[in-house]
């Protein structure tokens, strides 16, 4: 189908639901903020570089300000010292927002079961997709982005997500 042809639909009218249209747009324009801390961030760099090319999935507009982003990619180990920063970044992102935990460390602390490491970022922020691997291959990170796209298609209306989530640092 040649999309450059603006007369394609002629005078026709398409009926649909507003959610469907909005989510259709969102799906192909995720703006990720990469909270890259460790080895997994290096693999994220590879995901963004030309061979794996995250822009094929419409998620290449990497934002360096959380206020511009709607997808938080946590790639790497998050220590207790970092936890308040992660929370602050998450709080600064506008709704609706999604979170990917890349790798064993972000998902569960990985093999750093010790005094320094947060045992999974879901103690602090709600997570939508977990990616296994230490580090995951770039394909796995792409798969997670596609997973978010699938999830987001089913999102109802313009709701604030995860209102019932309570993290360990939420009351302090």
């Amino acid at each position: 189908m040649d999309l450059s042809n603006t007369n394609l639909l002629d005078e026709a009218i398409v009926t649909t639901k507003i959610d469907a249209v909005v989510n259709w747009g969102r799906e192909a324009s995720l703006w990720p903020f990469v909270f890259g801390t460790a080895c997994c961030a290096i693999e994220f760099m590879a995901t963004a570089a030309s061979r794996y090319d995250i822009s094929r999935f419409g998620a290449e507009v990497l934002r360096f300000s959380p206020r511009h982003a709607d997808l938080l990619v946590v790639a790497g180990t998050v220590s207790y010292k970092q936890a308040p920063i992660l929370k602050q970044i998450y709080d600064q992102m506008p709704e609706p927002k999604w979170v990917i935990a890349v790798g064993a460390c972000a998902s569960s602390g990985g093999f750093y079961d010790n005094y320094t490491t947060l045992q999974g970022i879901d103690e602090i922020v709600p997570v939508d997709v977990y990616v296994a691997g230490c580090p995951p291959r770039p394909e796995a990170i792409l798969d997670a982005v596609m997973d978010i796209q699938r999830q987001l298609k089913r999102e109802p209306k313009f709701e604030v997500r995860n209102t019932d989530f309570k993290g360990k640092l939420d009351d302090v």
Binding site: T37, C39, I42, M45, S79, K81, Y112, N114, Y115, K168
Partner: protein, 543 residues
């Protein structure tokens, strides 16, 4: 082989170190650490001992001083007046072991957060006892004295305080630098690290030697194999074994390939920071080809865990030569294309020449090693000054800069990649056939036929897996020329399969400790480039 330490009393510490520096030529303070003797079977008189590792200006000899600490609360006199590198090293000992350093200017935690209670590397601190951190510190306690020393006032001089990091696109990992700005110019700066402190050293005390290999991968994750090799080599030195020649050659090839990959990532990211996105593609893509080769060989792209104490997991695969040659050709191409774009590029040259120069004397005082030290014109490379693994039989050059500015630090890396590829090509020609692992049942796992075919082999495997490789009692400092500089492991063994203590001498730790000082008087945009050129890898720095 074990390192011999010289025992001195704490009262003589300052004088001895001054004498070592001024009269005996031990100008480079490599590392300071402590040992907690609480669980030793024959504990010495005092619970804590401090260890000072120094290197001679011939860059071959090391000297280790051990100082008993009778009371950690009183501690010992600081040596940060003699060596700038001692500043953060002492803070780390204070943080991890709770040993005080008298007259230290800013003795506060450096790796753990401010709300942390206790000292994690003390033997009676439980490994899994994590402590939540609720707020980040404002760091004005460090900034204010700096401003006072420069006679500056926030209000009167209209300064602005800005945080670079911890989450900043150009901070290459989570590093925080607080800068006081006068317009665009940095007038004072202080760095905070520890955001990626992952308890490497504590984990080592709870895992046997081969289990530590995967942890070493994640120190400098841009050249994981090199950390594997450095750690395995230190343990092998303690065991008194050397690999058969084929094993050594495989290690040389992989170490040099890792050095190339490390430099590629550093330069690609550095150039991207200054807007050279095309260079990023040219340098980053051949790295992907190198990873294809490594994943075919080791099963993993980044965190290879390929080495073992006494050898490696398996031999090279059939047809590796052509794969590797192909990778080298692609890297060559990437470097050439990238250099074409920057060598005579005024934007590149003007932006980084004469930015944050570090003189040779300063660099040694800060504890610089590796490419950053060589950029300052100091001809120090362990592969030359203390050649291990036949490095003296290869034909390659040491790359040395002149003024130690950002330009030199980057260009030294460009040239070093070519030298490393020379070594790889020679090693590919010279690699002999034969065994890859030391033929010793107490170190290397038996092959699977023996394990499944007989009780002796099975017991052998069982003992090695459960107890680990038993390293003779003693202490040793092993140094290795890694991509970022001298990577040292100080291992204390009590004769069991689990180390009593492991301390990493991480080059990035010392490079970053100098960073806030060398970016002063330059602009924010320059500081970003300087950070990129120092190649700070948080995993290695914070451990």
């Amino acid at each position: 082989m074990m390192s011999e330490a010289i025992k001195i009393e704490s009262a003589d510490l300052l004088d001895t170190l001054r004498k070592a520096r001024d009269e005996e030529g031990y100008t480079l303070l490599l590392d300071i650490t402590a040992i907690d003797n609480l669980y030793k079977s024959h504990p010495p008189m005092t619970r804590f001992e401090l260890v000072y590792v120094l290197r001679h200006s011939n860059f071959k000899d090391t000297r280790i001083y051990k100082v008993p600490v009778s009371d950690p609360k009183t501690g010992v006199e600081t040596v940060s007046g003699l060596f700038s590198s001692a500043d953060w090293a002492e803070r780390e000992v204070y943080d991890q072991y709770g040993i005080h350093f008298q007259n230290h200017k800013m003795l506060k935690r450096v790796l753990n957060h401010e709300e942390f209670i206790g000292h994690p590397l003390r033997k009676d601190y439980e490994i899994t006892k994590g402590q939540y951190c609720t707020v980040s510190q404002d760091m004005m306690d460090e900034m204010q004295p700096l401003l006072d020393a420069r006679n500056l006032d926030m209000e009167k001089d209209e300064l602005m305080i800005v945080n670079l990091g911890p989450s900043h696109p150009a901070s290459h990992g989570t590093i925080r630098t607080l800068v006081a700005l006068d317009g665009e110019t940095i007038v004072a700066a202080a760095s905070e690290i520890g955001y990626l402190h992952r308890g490497f050293e504590k984990s080592c005390e709870n895992h046997n030697y081969n289990q530590i290999i995967p942890y070493t991968d994640r120190l400098n994750y841009c050249s994981a194999l090199m950390n594997n090799i450095a750690f395995a080599k230190t343990a092998e030195d303690m065991l008194g074994v050397t690999l058969p020649d084929r094993g050594i050659f495989i290690r040389i090839i992989l170490a040099e390939l890792s050095r190339v990959i490390d430099h590629l990532v550093c330069l690609a990211a550095g150039l991207l920071d200054m807007g050279g996105q095309t260079n990023y593609w040219y340098l980053f893509n051949p790295r992907n080809n190198a990873y294809d080769f490594l994943s075919k060989l080791t099963g993993a792209r980044l965190t290879n865990s390929y080495m073992r104490i006494g050898g490696m997991a398996y031999d090279l695969y059939d047809g590796w030569e052509s794969d590797l040659e192909d990778v080298l050709v692609k890297i060559d191409f990437g470097i050439t294309e990238s250099l074409k774009m920057i060598t005579h590029n005024r934007i590149y040259n003007d932006r980084i020449q004469d930015v944050s120069p570090v003189s040779a004397k300063q660099a040694i005082d800060y504890g610089f090693t590796g490419p950053n030290l060589r950029a300052s014109g100091v001809a120090y490379d362990l592969r030359f000054s203390d050649p291990y693994y036949y490095y003296d039989t290869f034909d390659f050059n040491m790359v040395v800069g002149s003024v130690g500015d950002t330009y030199d630090r980057m260009m030294v890396r460009f040239e070093e990649m070519n030298e490393s590829m020379k070594i790889i090509r020679q090693a590919m020609k010279r690699i002999p056939d034969g065994e890859i692992n030391v033929p010793d049942k107490r170190i290397i796992l038996p092959n699977k036929n023996c394990v499944y075919g007989g009780i002796e082999g099975m017991m052998n495997q069982f003992k090695l897996v459960i107890d680990g490789v038993k390293v003779p009692e003693g202490e040793h400092y092993g140094a290795f020329e890694a991509a970022n500089g001298e990577l040292g492991f100080y291992i204390v063994s009590d004769g069991s399969g689990t180390p009593y203590k492991v301390k990493v001498r991480a080059p990035s730790f010392y490079h970053l400790s100098a960073y806030p000082k060398i970016i002063e008087h330059y602009q924010v945009a320059d500081a970003i480039m300087t950070l990129g050129s120092l190649n700070i890898i948080a995993g290695e720095m914070d451990r």
